[in-house]
Each structure stands twice: as C-alpha cells, then as structure tokens.
Symmetry: C2
Subunit: 353 residues, 2 copies
DNA sequence: GTGAAAGCGCTAACAG
DNA sequence: CTGTTAGCGCTTTCAC
C-alpha cells in the first residue's frame, strides 16, 4: 500500500485530472465548487481525489490568487495567562472564519518582534492581529503601514484599527476602589510587557482617581531582581521598605494580572499579608485571579468581545468592506471585587480621613 | 511618498531587477546569498531592494522550492498553562531554527483537530509538532503517516518520533509519595484533555505504586458539572462524599496540573482542607503550581528539554538526517514536593500502618 | 460544460 | 559572473 520513502510527493491537480479523465481546469472547477459542472463529471473527479488522497496545495492557490487565508498573531508572552487566553480566542475566531494563523511570541518587542513581523510579511499574511506591540521600532511601523491590514486588540496605535478595553476608566475604577477602601498611599506597578499605550492609559486612569480624591500619586514600581522596586531620590527602594514608616504604601495597583499574581506571591514569600498589610488590585481578568486562593480583585477585560470585534474589523479591511481612517473601538470593563484588597490596617486603624 | 490605496502591490524580484539594471536571476542570486556575485552588482541590487522596500515572497519561494519553512503546532488547550508554556517554547525553538509556526488549538481532538491538521497539510508545513493528540480519528492518522514528518512532544504515538517525559515513572513517584505520607485510599483524577497515551501511562504508574504497596486502586475521578465525580456500582458519586466513611479517600493524584489546580480550587470552595482533609498531587510542572498560595506537589516535566529534543528530531527528519523507524526518547521527570500533600489526618490519627 | 493557455513570483539549471 | 528559460501547482480568462 505505502511506498518506502518517508514523504511521498503530493498528488497534484494534474494527477487527479488524469485519473478522472478530465482536464486540469475541470478539476479546479470542482475543487472551487464552481457552478456549472455536470454531476457526472463532479463525481468522477471526487472519486479520483478520494482515490489519490489529493489535498489542494494552498501555496500554489495563494500564489495564483495573490492572497492568502492566513493571519499573523503577535503575542506578548504566552506565559502570561491573559495573553494565552487571548491567543486561544484569536485562533478560534480565525479558524471559524477560515483563516489559519501564524503566531509570534515577542516578549515585549525587540528583535523577536521585528523578525516575527518580517516573517509574517514575507508569508503575505492577509492581516495581522496585534495582541501586543512595542512601538519602539520605528522602521517596523512604516513597513506595516499600508502594506497589510492590521488590527490592535487590547492595545492600540493611532495609525490602525483597534479594539481596546477602557483602560483608563478601568484603572480609575480600580484605584477608586482602593481609595474607597481607605487607602491613601497607592503605588503603581508597571510591567515591561504591557505595551506603551495600555500602560500609559492605565497610569493615567490611576492618576485620575488620585487627583479626584486630592491624593498624590504613590511610588511607581517595576520588577527588579528581588521583587518590586522603585526609585526615591536616585536610590532604589524595595517594596518591603515602602510598607514601613508614616507615609507608607498600603496598596498597589498592578497594570496587569500577571504582575498582580507575582506581586501577591512576592508578598506571601516576604511575609507581607495580603490584604491585611497590603492591598493588591490587578488588571485584565485573567482566569487565574479567580482561583479561591488567589482571589485578586481585578479589572476584567471582555476577552471574547475584544477578539471578536478585532477579527471582524480585520476581515472587513481585508475584504475591502471597511476603508478610510483607522477606527477605534473602546469596550467597557468591569471591576471584579475579590479578596486581595481591603481596608488598610495600621496606626490610623479605622480612623476616617 | 505613499499612494492612496490601503495595500499597495508588493514589488517583485522583477521590479528590483529593473531598478538595479540587472536580470531577475541576479537578484535571486543575491537574495539567496549565492556565491559569485560581484560586490558592485550586489550593492546595486541591495540598494534597489532598500529603495523599493522589497520583501521576498515566501509563497513563491516555497512553491518553487517545493518545501516550506513552516511548522504546524498542535496544542491541546492554551488555557492550560502547561500547554501555553510548551507552545511558547515551540515557537521560540522554531523561530531560532528559521521556521515560522502555525498553531492549532484542538481542545482535545474532534473536529477542531481534524480541520487544524488538514489546514497544516494544505499549507504543506515542513513538519508538525504535536503537543497533544487524540488518536480517535483513524483517517487522520493515515493522512499524516508518510505525508509529513511529525514529532510528538509530551505525548506519543507508536508510528512516529516522540519525546516524552517518563509518565509512568512520574506517576509512580507521585503516588509513592502519597503512600509514604500514609495515604491508603488514593483516587486518580483524569482530564479529558490529556491525550490517550499520557493518560494511560500515568494511570499505569499510579497503579504500579499501589500494587507494590499492596494497595488497591482508589476511585477514578473525572470532571463533572459540579466537580470531580466517579461511578460506584453504576451510581455517580461526587468527591465530597468520597471523603467520608471508613474507607474514605484521603488523597487524589491528578494526571495533570490544570486538573490539580481546579481540584484545589474545588476543595477550597467546598470547605475541604488541603492538605488537611485531602492531599493533592499533580503532574506537569506548570509554573502556577509554584505559587506560594497554590504550592501543589507535582511531577515536573523538563519542558525546555522536551521541546528542544522534539524540534531537533523533527528537523532531522525534515532534512533527511534521520530516517527509518520511529525513535522514542523518554526524559526523566522529577517530583517537586510542595504543600498540597501531607500525612492524612482523621480517625486513625498518627496510627502507623 | 469543458479544455487550452497564460500567468502568480520565485528557483535552479544551463548557456553565454 | 550574468542572463535565459523552464518549471512549481493552481486560478482564471477565453475559446471551443
């Protein structure tokens, strides 16, 4: 039945034509379910296809048609559960629309992002879904613009379509929640893998809330070798130290759930009680935050909706149904209150204002 | 500078040739960095490429060369952190070897798996990495065999190369750990998304351990609507009930970490203390199990090594460096002891044997 | 309704 | 060292 060689040559449309006793283009017509082929002929062709185990060559088709049924998906970090969840949705949505998808995990920009996009462009993907984007690389942006339809999902760039969550409002909600709980010194934890735009918006929302409450922004934390760290007067200060003293930090708003989970873990390992000594609020709505043991209060992004609208917009561009200036859609978010944030304890215990 | 239309036609090798004032094949020669092109000519071509923003068309190249630089990666479920971690590694490894990768998230077989593989085959992927596989679909297997190099990573099939963790031994270690802790009634929790082979091996390892200790296998749990469930004498029995009575279950070995995490969460929500009332051990070594609040004892698979060896084997097949019968590599695993498993409490408190 | 023929953009001999 | 040419497998007019 099978020959010895590992990978036999694939039968072509010509082989099928020969077996079916028809011409090449008739086979093509059958494959493309083109109207106007005798039932008889069609059946003969189908039989030949079956018999040969023929499988259309997408490469040849794409070359002839001058277009592919391929999406590129740019992901920040699959280790981040939220990103993985989004990637899964993109794959599902693409498949449902008949598109295959190529992934590139960029780890927040840099060389991986550039080569990944380059690769997608060379494969002439019909469109690219950006689940993360680091605009740092100028040439990248220009090689994208006008070359291929693009949509930013959960992040955004002014020069292309995007579907984003209400980052700023969400961050404000999160921070207001903390303020309502009685916190006065609220730090902001940023994660390198959150792309520029989201980061800025979330930072802005955080500041909005503080402003309205007449509070000053707390320290800005990033991840250092040994946990969250900030800089005060040129000197590095680690989180545990920030938790002491009279103007001490009592809460942290993390710009994403991955960071919030890590922060929680850091606190646990450092003997810092959450939420007793430190309240934590995240952003994204990653499934892991819903675990009873984690129970992180977070701002949930409507993942399905973001991805659905994003791919819809992309396909509309690809098919020419959508033209003109970039469209931006903002989807509302929701604060999911869990147990990682509570009223601050400490010296001013229960004292209001 | 730019025309009005959304996606301008891509310049071709011919455009470059025209601008550089050379022939088509000379351009091809410099692109393929073919030896024997004058520096002068090369520079002229490079300049033309730069000027036009030329980007080689991978589709045309692939068609002409009769091969692609594309991998297909079949994933079980990106929502499962272990799968996401593995997928990320495959992408990284592929990119490092110059391969782009197409993903298909199959959710454990069925239609999604079949169409995903079909799609990869039509795109003439150079090889497929299976991170999960459901052998249920007979025709699938036959359309794969001999058609394209394939490697199973973390799972396996007798008809193709595979790199797997020592599933059976790992499961035995996990179960022995539980036995050593004093457990006598240990249930096995299976997850639908673990493919046949891994499931069977892990079940076998679990039984090995019980056998050696002269114990009988405990109930076999699966996920029902309302948590883990088993069948006793044709009647469904939920986990909480199993935890009562004289021959009650005191520990569960979950065949994967995703299930273990869910089980832990189920226990937390049901007021079942872990590890006080119930010990839990998982399998995979997903990062999430390492969180201080989760702290699930698990059998860690060497992810990097699995993926590295897997892609190596695949590339060797693709390049013809490896031929003949399927090779199977088994990589050793390691029990990572954390806090989800402890000595059983209860009536026979501290009583030995 | 079916077949012949001209590409799609590139590679890979093979002449010059 | 460079140019000419014949495909790769399929689509897509356009005659028959």
């Amino acid at each position: 039945m099978s020959s010895g060689s590992r990978t036999a040559r694939h039968p072509t449309i010509l082989d099928v034509a020969r077996v079916a006793g028809v011409s090449k283009s008739t086979v093509s017509n059958v494959i493309r379910s083109f109207e106007g082929v005798t039932d008889e002929t069609r059946q003969a062709v189908d039989r030949a296809i079956e018999q040969l185990g023929y499988r259309p060559n997408a490469i040849a088709r794409d070359l002839a048609q001058q277009r592919t049924q391929l999406f590129g998906t740019v992901i920040g970090d699959l280790n981040n559960p939220f990103h993985a969840e989004m990637a899964k949705l993109v794959e599902r949505e693409s498949a449902a629309r008949g598109y295959a998808t190529m992934f590139s995990n960029t780890l927040g920009g840099g060389a991986a992002e550039a080569t990944g996009i380059e690769m997608m462009l060379e494969h002439r993907v019909a469109g690219i879904v950006f689940l993360a984007f680091s605009a740092r690389d100028r040439p990248l942006r220009s090689s994208l613009k006008g070359r291929v339809p693009v949509v930013f999902v959960g992040c955004s760039e002014p020069w292309a379509d995007s579907v984003v969550a209400a980052d700023r409002r969400g961050a404000r909600l999160a921070t207001e929640h903390l303020i309502a709980l009685g916190h006065r010194q609220i730090a902001f934890l940023a994660n390198a893998l959150v792309e520029e735009h989201g980061h800025r918006s979330r930072l802005a929302g955080y500041r909005d809330a503080l402003d309205r409450a007449g509070l000053r922004p707390g320290p800005s934390l990033t991840w250092g070798e040994e946990g969250p760290i900030t800089t005060v007067g040129g000197k590095p200060v680690r989180l545990p130290e920030l938790l002491r003293g009279h103007s001490r930090v009592t809460a942290v708003f993390s710009s994403n759930d991955f960071g919030a989970v890590e922060l929680l873990d850091f606190a646990d390992r450092s003997g810092i009680g959450v939420p007793d000594e430190l309240s934590v609020v995240g952003f994204d709505g990653a499934a892991v935050t819903g675990l009873s043991r984690i129970a992180i209060t977070t701002v949930a992004q409507p993942k399905e909706q973001l991805v659905r609208l994003g791919t819809e917009a992309l396909v509309a561009r690809i098919e020419g149904r959508s033209t003109g200036r970039p469209r931006r859609r903002v989807i509302d978010v929701e604060l999911v209150v869990r147990r990682s944030a509570a009223a601050p304890a400490g010296p001013q215990r229960q004292r209001r204002r």
